[in-house]
């Protein structure tokens, strides 16, 4: 379920799932589905902050205002998410001029929206994409950019430093942003950012503030999921390898804020370290209330008697 989804895609599909469950009209069924989703996301996608923040919001709505109107509320959240993503993308697009060469990895929805906006604005850019193992989502991003008419160069993950000199800007999406401005993103992002810094190329992270992890303000560490060899080799390939073939396959890594030139949000573009400050100044967005999700889960459980 949801495995190939990027952070924002996961959030949107969870919103759709919640909406269709809510429309069935049964509070108990809805709350059970909500609790299942919380379980799934916390165990399989513990770094996907947008989804966790959305589940927190919906759970909070139920505990504070009950079941009635939750379907409408979910639709509002979805529209709001789309709007803030679009605003962040508009801000990023202003920083890109025609003729520039960009590098990205994975298949971030924010980056796709950016490319599509650039195409609409008639800005012609060239895009380098790393294939982004494990998963290989870079191929999907390359296809997307090709359809928009851009020149696309696909490279292996190992070749990021080799081509860094030919690049003007690195633009990536995020799974989560921690309170110190560190960014959790697809595995390999921190290596690309390091190579960019070495070559004095600018690194931009497009991440609406829904990706901010309020728990990290209280010192919580973000949990990064790891998988095993099954994500690296097919079973036929494994048959040709030693029986004890083992692998460690992290899905995300942490890019320190000093390698990021700017984080690009719906409130504008600023240093990643400033994100908690900006949020505290504009905090009425409703997305980032720091009530622990475990607390919400237990009151939901009491509510439906499980």
């Amino acid at each position: 379920m949801f495995t190939r989804f990027t952070g924002s895609e996961l959030a949107f599909s969870v919103l759709d799932e919640l909406y269709s469950t809510a429309s069935k009209g049964s509070e108990i069924e809805f709350v059970k589905r909500l609790l299942d989703l919380v379980d799934y996301v916390l165990s399989e996608r513990p770094a996907s902050m947008a989804t966790i923040n959305i589940l927190r919001q919906v759970g909070l709505y139920i505990t504070e205002r009950g079941f009635s109107g939750v379907d409408k509320y979910i639709l509002e959240l979805k529209e709001k998410y789309q709007a803030i993503l679009d605003r962040a993308v508009e801000v990023m697009a202003r920083r890109i001029t025609s003729g520039e060469v960009l590098l990205s990895n994975s298949n971030s929805l924010a980056v796709r929206k950016l490319l599509s906006l650039l195409a609409k604005q008639g800005k012609s850019i060239k895009l380098y994409v790393t294939e982004s193992r494990p998963g290989g989502e870079g191929l999907l991003l390359a296809e997307y950019a090709e359809n928009l008419g851009f020149d696309v160069y696909l490279i292996v993950d190992s070749a990021a430093r080799f081509f860094m000199k030919s690049i003007d800007k690195v633009v990536v999406g995020a799974e989560a942003v921690a309170s110190n401005g560190a960014v959790v993103s697809k595995i390999g992002t921190s290596l690309i950012a390091l190579a960019a810094k070495e070559a004095r190329k600018r690194v931009f992270v497009v991440a609406p503030t829904v990706k901010f992890s309020p728990e990290t303000l209280h010192g919580e560490l973000l949990k990064l999921p790891e998988h095993d060899w099954k994500l690296l080799v097919s079973s036929e390939e494994a048959a040709r390898l030693p029986e004890n073939y083992s692998a460690r396959v992290p899905l995300y890594d942490v890019t320190p804020p000093e390698y990021i030139d700017a984080i690009v949000t719906e409130y504008g573009l600023f240093a990643p370290q400033a994100l908690p400050l900006v949020l505290s100044l504009v905090e009425k967005s409703g997305f980032t209330i720091a009530r622990p999700i475990e607390e919400i889960v237990s009151s939901l459980k009491r509510r439906v008697g499980v």
């Binding site: 193992r133 696909l154 490279i155 993950d157 190992s158 697809k186 004890n244 073939y245 460690r248 890594d253």
Partner: protein, 329 residues
């Protein structure tokens, strides 16, 4: 028209057709061919005629793989024995002896690199390696036998997955090894004590040309203050870089990265597949050669000592290796 012994021609075509592969094997095959050529020489028993003949054999061998640095190194090493000889029989003996010496030394080299390199690894170490290198794996296995290695991370090494060969090679020796995707190097590097990699070519300034991704691995290692060792036999050092030649980085077929059908479906996507990258000397703590551990910046020492002709600009004409000059200086 000179004729060459049949076996010499077979070796030459074996190298050209890549039946003989790997820097060490190519170099030893070339030395062997020169030895056979000298022993089976049937021409005039005259020193100058013999030198001309050997030069021609050398040129034939060098031309078989223009980009393999070990090949000209082996040929020059053997043929430079013709410099200080005064008679035909002395010359023939010198070539045979030098060829045998090269073969023996190059086989010894990898073993000695293992022993020397293992001394640099402290107890309870975690090592990371990229791609597959016989010399690097030799260091790791020797260190493991001495009880110094607790875990090895091996990158899978796209596009050709040589990391799987490394995994198999290490696992057979009982080394606890874990494969990681190339993108996860920085993620694990804080747990790693040493990066040990091989080299394709070592340039005269100490820069190391090796499998694509090596420079990124060493960059992450430097950031984490993890030591980086390059295991490289002396025949990997490139004399031509001393006169300013650049090492050409070959781009291979996109089909190594994505299937042909995908490429046909996506004509506007160019798949770029450089085979090697260049690691600057400042990211390397030491190069481990069979002659000892040297800082990369001292690569020129190996070039002078092992490939002495390299400093002798008269060994070249018009920026190219000139074997006629090598044998007659």
């Amino acid at each position: 028209m000179t004729t060459y012994p049949q076996r010499v021609l077979e070796i030459a075509s074996g190298i050209r057709e890549m039946k003989i592969r790997g820097a060490g094997r190519i170099a030893r095959a070339a030395a062997e061919a020169l030895k056979i050529a000298a022993l089976e020489y049937t021409g005039e028993r005259d020193l100058e005629a013999f030198k001309r003949y050997m030069t021609n054999v050398g040129e034939l061998l060098v031309s078989t793989r223009p980009t393999a640095v070990s090949l000209p190194n082996a040929v020059v090493y053997v043929l430079s024995s013709l410099r200080r000889v005064s008679s035909f029989s002395e010359a023939r003996e010198a070539v045979v002896k030098r060829a045998e010496m090269f073969i023996f030394e190059s086989e010894e080299a990898t073993r000695r690199i293992g022993q020397i390199g293992a001394r640099r690894i402290k107890e309870n170490s975690v090592i990371l390696t990229h791609c597959h290198s016989t010399a690097a794996v030799g260091v790791i296995i020797e260190a493991f036998k001495q009880g110094r290695v607790i875990r090895v991370y091996s990158t899978e090494t796209r596009p050709a997955y040589q990391g799987r060969i490394t995994f198999t090679h290490l696992a057979k020796s009982g080394v606890p090894v874990t494969q990681i995707p190339d993108s996860a190097v920085r993620y694990v590097i804080n747990e790693v004590d040493y990066v040990v990699v091989g080299a394709d070519t070592v340039a005269s300034n100490g820069a190391v040309v090796n499998k694509i991704g090596t420079s990124q691995v060493t960059l992450a290692a430097k950031e984490a203050r993890t030591r980086v060792y390059v295991a490289a036999e002396s025949y990997k050092f490139s004399p031509l870089t001393l006169i300013g030649e650049l090492v050409t980085i070959e781009y291979r077929s996109p089909e190594e990265i994505v299937p042909r059908e995908w490429l046909e479906k996506h004509p506007r996507i160019k798949v770029l597949n450089p085979v090697f990258d260049v690691t600057p000397p400042e990211y390397i703590d030491a190069i481990i050669t069979e002659h000892g551990v040297i800082p990369p910046q001292a690569a020129v020492l190996i070039l002078i000592e092992k490939l002495g002709w390299a400093l002798d600009f008269q060994g070249y004409s018009e920026g190219k290796l000139d074997l006629n000059r090598i044998v007659s200086l």
